[in-house]
């Protein structure tokens, strides 16, 4: 098992480097450059002034050198100084990451707590109105983009009904850990972010359960005279667990990427807002820092998934 984990970690390293290289190149090759944004408010700057600024930020160096320099610093945990915000990238990510994790964790929890029972119900009462209802919910959940749901929520629940704030994560004047206030701010974005997960999970659980339910061991369990509830949760769910671990890794990726849009809609001061603003203004150090942190998160979640998979099924780790 240890060898398996070590092997997976070693395999993750080139993937990680590849991601950073690709992100670096994409940022550099896209039109526009950060200097344009930096001097946008200033005039009378001569070409020499702009060149001096370029040098001060090291943007005059060849791409290879810039990337290697960045990589060397990043290896020591130094992601540099934001070009536009005049503060360390690490500090900015440090402020934004907990907010995003808070949002993503809540959304994932909701996706699981709602999605799994829905899927199980659909499998248990297959081809009944319950199954059809779950299908409608999940098709809608796939079809409705989170930002649209978010905007709809803001329009109806915040602007018209005045039940929720239009955005942010903390009302002005409230204490940092006012739980009621935080929940009010969380409900909209969590709803928008978790709907896709609910849809995904309910379909997945239904399909897996139905497959397992058709197997011999279930017939045996039923033949023993077990109640249906015990058959589903004790025998079927356990066997359906394995493929669901795979789906969990995918869900995390969905939540991390979906958060960019949802955070933007709900003015949630997390990684998504940070990324969006940084990408708009070509703030390379922030974008690279965000790429590192989110790809580490993602790779870690895949690693955990694989390890869990291996733990659950010995065939995997010897494969």
């Amino acid at each position: 098992m240890r060898r398996f984990v070590v092997r997976r970690i070693l395999q993750a390293i080139p993937t990680f480097l590849g991601i950073t290289l690709l992100a670096f190149l994409l940022m550099r090759l896209a039109p526009g450059d950060p200097l344009t944004m930096m001097v946008a408010g200033a005039t009378d700057l001569s070409a020499e002034d702009v060149d001096a600024l370029r040098r001060a930020h090291g943007l005059d160096r060849p791409y290879v050198e810039q990337y290697v320099t960045w990589l060397g610093r990043a290896a020591t945990g130094d992601f540099g100084q934001s070009l536009l915000y005049n503060r360390p990238v690490g500090q900015m990510i440090g402020a934004a990451l907990p907010n995003t994790l808070q949002l993503s964790a809540c959304a994932m929890l909701v996706a699981l707590l709602v999605g799994v029972p829905l899927g199980a119900a659909a499998a248990r009462w297959r081809d009944t109105p319950i199954d059809h209802l779950v299908r409608v919910i999940s098709v809608a959940g796939h079809a409705v983009p989170p930002f649209w749901l978010g905007l709809l929520f803001i329009l109806t629940m915040a602007v018209q009904a005045r039940l929720f704030p239009v955005g942010g994560m903390l009302s002005i004047g409230k204490a940092e850990w006012d739980v009621g206030d935080r929940l009010l701010h969380l409900i909209g974005p969590v709803l928008a972010l978790s709907l896709g997960g609910v849809a995904n999970y309910s379909r997945y659980v239904r399909a897996e359960l139905l497959e397992v339910l058709g197997q011999d061991l279930i017939r045996t369990a039923r033949a023993k005279g077990l109640r249906e509830r015990a058959v589903i949760w004790r025998h079927a769910a356990r066997n359906a667990l394995l493929p669901m671990i795979t789906a969990l890794g995918g869900l995390l990726a969905y939540l991390v990427s979906g958060a960019v849009v949802v955070e933007q809609v709900f003015a949630w001061p997390g990684m998504g807002r940070l990324t969006y603003e940084a990408a708009r203004s070509k703030d390379y150090p922030i974008v690279m820092g965000v790429v590192v942190v989110s790809s580490l998160l993602l790779l870690t979640s895949y690693l955990l998934r694989d390890v869990a998979y291996a733990a659950a099924d010995p065939r995997v780790r010897h494969g």
Binding site: P31, T36, T43, N86, A95, G167
Partner: protein, 582 residues
């Protein structure tokens, strides 16, 4: 003078180019402050909080490093300048300096500080802080504001580390003097409006031995500990809010509000929603939300004309489109476009036709003798035909096998510019001019605009477009050197490659002969020539659509950026009538 076009709404900070130096030249001793604490109405409530909404976060709270309007909105409440400008006329007024003076050769600026000025912690504010601010700019590697001080004698030498101080700045008790290496009329407002930072805080980042040491990465840049403004920095949650609290030692009397909050929402629509729900008190919004917000009983509407305009620029250095060099054709393109229709439809009437470069509210603007080019398609066609063009079979003019046809570019996502583009294509078609509309991302457009890549005129500075729809935001001074002087074609902001001896002469005069009547004459000639020549279709100026909750009183916006922002200039006199309804 204008700055780079931005895809987002107009900001204000801009370049603080001087104006009305006459005020100083002819009346050497300007009189006392115009905003005495006594102006506060006795019944105005004290206490409470005002929340100002914006759709982009500040970047840095230090005038040395800031270049964007959002940052200036916040640091402008914390660091005041030596002078302010009148929000309506842009006339310089005393602020931290109670008197200011420009010498007869226009090369020496003198500022006499108000007596008894203190920072928010009670330590004295002195001329040393002023001199240090200039030093901080000259030593900074990341500033974009060097142009403000680099004409001060010895500033460059100090920046390069070859001089221990800036020779041209002298501090004598409460009097600070700046000597310039040549006359430069905009310098009074450039230097006078610059926010002064505390030497006691930032001085430690400089080193007498090492000129490469600077304040660029100081943590105080994002958390200013001291203030000369009405508020003191409290807290910054990135992409969420900045909280400022009242400065009880403010020189012009403590603010009525306890707290001033800068709240960030993702876009103008979100701001409008937050205004409706009462989550924010004050915000500038888009025209599309205007009607909806005007129906809200709890909101008051404060429109004001922003100094700037949206224009169509005709590239004078474009291979194959040399017909744009013809004044007759450009005048035809002015008569052939109904700008008022665009103002009526896209801006709900919240705009004003521009006839030349200088904002109509400025002291430097004189409408006398400017042609208004009222919409007249027949006249447009006559002008084109007078230039030797014949109507072709498909309704487009032709001359020597060349068609009167070009592309018009703007950045995607800007509703106002996109609509102007549509209307221009349709209306120009009616006068026999074929225009191909093109939109690009702002980044791609800026790239095309800033690089001299035209096949024929690239060496002369020809940029890669035929016609472009963009906008300028302008500061308080009338100087237009960077946009219109022919020296700015190759690398500056004269992206259309316009070169005219009369315009050059007027700009140079307006910059170096600083008497008020002389400057007025210079800009009258400048605007008249541009109006006649039509190197741009000058398009329109747009109202800033400011809404505020009626519980806030004391808001008095004006067009010119006073204290870094045109509606926050008197924030210390804002008051809250009743508690937040929530």
């Amino acid at each position: 003078m204008p700055r780079l076009p931005r895809s987002r709404a107009a900001g204000v900070a801009g370049s603080f180019l001087a104006l009305l130096v006459l005020a100083a030249a002819c009346a050497p001793a300007a009189t006392g402050p115009t905003a005495p604490p006594a102006a506060i109405a006795p019944q105005a409530a004290r206490g409470g909080r005002a929340v100002v909404g914006a759709f982009s976060d500040a970047r840095v709270l230090n005038p040395v490093l800031s270049s964007d309007a959002s940052s200036a909105e916040v640091w402008g409440r914390v660091y005041e300048g030596l002078i302010a400008v009148d929000r309506n006329s842009a006339q310089p007024q005393p602020r931290l300096a109670e008197r200011f003076d420009v010498s007869e050769d226009y090369k020496t600026l003198t500022f006499a500080l108000r007596p008894g000025l203190v920072w928010s912690d009670g330590t004295p504010f002195s001329g040393e802080d002023v001199a240090f601010t200039a030093e901080a700019v000259m030593r900074s590697k990341k500033t974009v504001r060097k142009n403000i001080f680099q004409n001060v004698v010895g500033a460059k030498a100090f920046g390069e580390g070859t001089a221990p101080t800036i020779d041209g700045i002298s501090v004598d008790g409460d009097v600070v003097t700046f000597r310039l290496d040549k006359p430069n009329c905009p310098a009074l407002t450039d230097i006078g409006l610059f926010g002064i930072i505390p030497k006691s805080v930032f001085g430690k980042y400089h080193s007498a031995e090492d000129a490469s040491k600077n304040i660029d990465d100081a943590p105080e840049n994002v958390a200013p500990p001291l203030s000369t403004g009405p508020f003191v920095f409290q807290e910054w949650r990135p992409n969420d809010r900045i909280v400022l609290a009242r400065n009880d030692r403010y020189a012009f009397g403590p603010a009525l509000l306890d707290e001033w909050v800068y709240k960030v929402h993702p876009d103008a629509t979100a701001l409008a929603a937050a205004l409706k729900t009462g989550e924010i008190d004050v915000a500038r919004v888009d025209a599309r939300d205007l009607e909806d917000l005007q129906r809200q009983d709890h909101l008051a509407f404060y429109p004001y004309l922003a100094p700037g305009y949206t224009y169509i620029g005709w590239n004078q250095l474009r291979g194959g489109k040399e017909f744009l060099q013809s004044t007759a054709v450009r005048q035809a393109l002015a008569y052939g476009l109904d700008v008022d229709q665009v103002i009526g439809t896209v801006l709900s009437g919240q705009g004003k036709r521009m006839l030349a470069h200088t904002p109509p509210t400025s002291w430097a603007y004189d409408p006398e003798g400017l042609n208004d080019y009222a919409y007249d398609p027949a006249r447009a066609r006559a002008l084109i035909e007078g230039d030797g063009w014949m109507m072709g079979a498909d309704g487009v003019y032709e001359k020597n096998g060349e068609r009167l046809e070009f592309s018009m570019l703007t950045n995607s996502g800007n509703k106002i510019r996109e609509t102007l583009l549509q209307v221009a294509v349709e209306q120009y078609r009616q006068i026999g001019v074929s225009v191909t509309p093109r939109t690009e991302s702002f980044e791609a457009l800026t790239d095309r605009l800033n690089k001299s890549r035209d096949g024929t005129y690239g060496d002369a500075g020809g940029r890669d477009f035929d016609a472009v729809i963009l906008g300028w935001n302008m500061g308080p001074d009338a100087d237009a050197y960077g946009t219109w002087h022919s020296s700015q074609i190759k690398t500056g902001q004269n992206q259309i490659g316009y070169s005219d001896a009369q315009v050059d002469a007027a700009i140079e005069s307006g910059r170096t002969v600083c008497g008020m009547p002389e400057r007025k004459d210079a800009y009258r000639a400048f605007n008249k020539r541009l109006n006649e020549e039509q190197p741009y279709n000058f398009g329109f100026a747009v109202n800033t659509l400011l809404f505020a909750n009626k519980r806030i009183s004391g808001i008095e916006p004006g067009p010119f950026p006073n204290l870094q922002n045109s509606y926050l200039w008197n924030v210390e006199r804002w008051s809250v009538a009743q508690p937040v309804a929530k």
